[in-house]
Amino acid sequence: MSEEMTLDAYLAAGGILSNPTNVPPRYRAELMKLMATFVDSELAGSAGFADIVNEAPGLKERIAAARIVLEKAANADRVLAVMSEFSVDADRYATHHPWTARLARDADIGATRGDHDMRLAVFNYPLQGWTDAVVMNLLMGRAVAVQLAEFSLVSYQPLAETFRAIAPIEAHHAELAEEGLRKLLETGDGTKLQMSVDYWWPRVGQSFGVGQSQRFETLRAYGLRRTSNAELRERWTGETRAKLTDLGLQVP
């Protein structure tokens, strides 16, 4: 019972940490980065969707879009609350950055993050109208589901619990997107939808990151990752391809 064990060995053996007082420095940094990536992506996603609310073709769609704007901001807030236990100034964090900023539609940045925040690269591309937003939301919503399933098992329990609470809310956003997409298909603008699928498919795919085995091994030893980027991407590709095919759309 009194045998000594380093925290690194504890983590490598699947140990769980529960409070900020004894997270090792490098673990702390990786954990903060993971949280910042989520918060920045949610805030950027929410901000991008806010403009779309006014383009909704009907009241039901308007409510769905407004709800997504609200809930993504609220999910960012939940993770910020975990960050603030590490002495992050949450209020300043949420307002320090222009979350609506986007690059040009044809910018090609691969998986590179911007210089000033940690949002996933895909959130740097602008949405072009309602149809485009619905497609992006469906593809990304399903990617978020795959990623949250992975991150719901991180070794920092307060964050794992937060992600477990967020997962069903994000899953619902993807359901709303599917509903919206089916409605758009009924009215028959298949070509426009397919163009959006062609645009977003590779960009959402890149949000799973590229294979950096060394870094992945470090994160795995910390209990912050379990499944490789490639495997997660594979999972998303399979599930989403089936969904699109079912809807009568093609995967590029």
């Binding site: 409070n19 490098r26 903060m32 990536t37 940690m118």
Partner: protein, 357 residues
């Protein structure tokens, strides 16, 4: 951000030879800030040899006890715990942050649940808070506690647990596992390992009826118990952990070596340690330490680059830097030499920073 409040020590009880139960009364106006949830902890601060030290201790009182109490076991070489056990007096004032932590699950008086707690040594403090509160507020629920100690003489709250068993007849079951003292039942001697848990689940604990498990103890014990619980089909969300690592440093290991005074040259030689490797780079003094590291292909951690999130925190071990903005680090961290590398520029010609500390 974290705010410390004054708390007056109103009572100190020795529970075993090297542990005290300290009762605290928040200073006027702070009562509300110290309303706690069962299983939470307090973080104290105190200066030792001029340097601030922070330590966290779990609250051992239940929500209905009407007091704020923490249990502090003396740790070999631990500055704060030794102070609390040997010098602290009734009437003294301590400083602590409001209660924190998420080592709890919501209670519902209508529910009939079975909770299983595992505690190793002083890890019993938050578990005691949880079990007292649960038995009082969920009258149909029951609680099984597996409590590991070296020997009979090192069992904290032994009598209190006996009293609770009598008070909540049939709803509290305590299994003492003693490392060195022999007991009537062989199974109850030794360490709480995965195998021990599996044996307990075979004959003494009906694991299939357990809704939630709480574990607080040393690292190897937590790993063994968690493995046994998972092997018996418990989900991640059903297992709550609390760990206060025995390895957390009680005192500062390093003093910052004074560097040479600044010179007019605008180049600095900076040694950057990351993941155990040190790289020395020549950089302009108008470039942040973080950017210099990134430009030299080091995978230094960062997120906001605005001095807000503290992901890029590192420690200056030699020389001096200027931190132009800081919205995240607290004064005591800055005193210890921590800086936000995205906001820090070399002042001296030689600088060394460490991301691993």
């Amino acid at each position: 951000m974290a705010q410390f409040h004054d708390l007056q020590v109103t009572d100190i009880q020795k529970t075993i030879r090297d542990a005290v139960i300290v009762t605290l009364k928040p200073a006027e106006g702070s009562d509300e800030a110290f309303a706690f949830t069962q299983g939470q902890y307090l973080t104290f601060r105190r200066k030792f040899d001029g340097e601030e030290l922070r330590r966290s201790y779990s609250i051992c009182a239940g929500l209905d006890d009407g007091v704020l109490q923490v249990g502090i076991k003396r740790v070999e070489g631990g500055a704060f715990s030794t102070f609390a056990n040997e010098e602290l007096q009734v009437g003294d004032t301590l400083q602590a942050m409001p209660p924190m932590g998420s080592f709890h699950t919501p209670l519902d008086g209508d529910q009939q649940r079975h909770y299983l707690g595992f505690a190793g040594g002083s890890g019993v403090t938050p578990v005691l808070s949880i079990l007292k509160t649960t038995l009082a507020r969920e009258p149909k629920s029951r609680f099984t506690l597996v409590y590991a100690n070296r020997g009979v003489s090192s069992i904290m709250f032994r009598e209190e647990l006996e009293d609770l068993k009598n008070l909540h007849m049939g709803r509290l079951n305590v299994i003492h596992i003693l490392e060195s003292d022999a007991q009537e039942i062989d199974l109850f001697t030794g360490l709480v390992t995965q195998e021990k848990c599996t044996d307990l689940f075979r004959s003494w604990i009906d694991i299939d009826t357990v809704d939630t498990a709480f574990i607080c103890g040393p690292e190897p014990m937590m790993l063994g118990i968690a493995a046994a619980l998972r092997a018996h089909g418990m989900e991640e969300a059903q297992i709550k952990f609390e760990l206060f690592a025995s390895a957390q440093p009680g005192r500062l290991k390093h003093k910052i070596a004074p560097g040479e005074t600044s010179s007019s040259a605008n180049q600095a030689s900076t040694a950057i340690t990351l993941d155990g490797a040190t790289q020395t780079i020549t950089m302009g003094k108008d470039i942040s330490i973080l950017d210099a590291a990134l430009q030299n292909a080091m995978d230094a951690p960062f997120a906001c680059k605005a001095g807000v999130c503290s992901t890029c925190r590192c420690r200056v071990t030699e020389g001096e830097v200027e931190m132009v903005a800081n919205h995240a680090l607290e004064d005591y961290e800055v005193e210890k030499g921590y800086v936000l590398s995205c906001q820090s520029y070399p002042l001296t010609d030689r600088v060394a920073v460490d991301y691993d500390q």
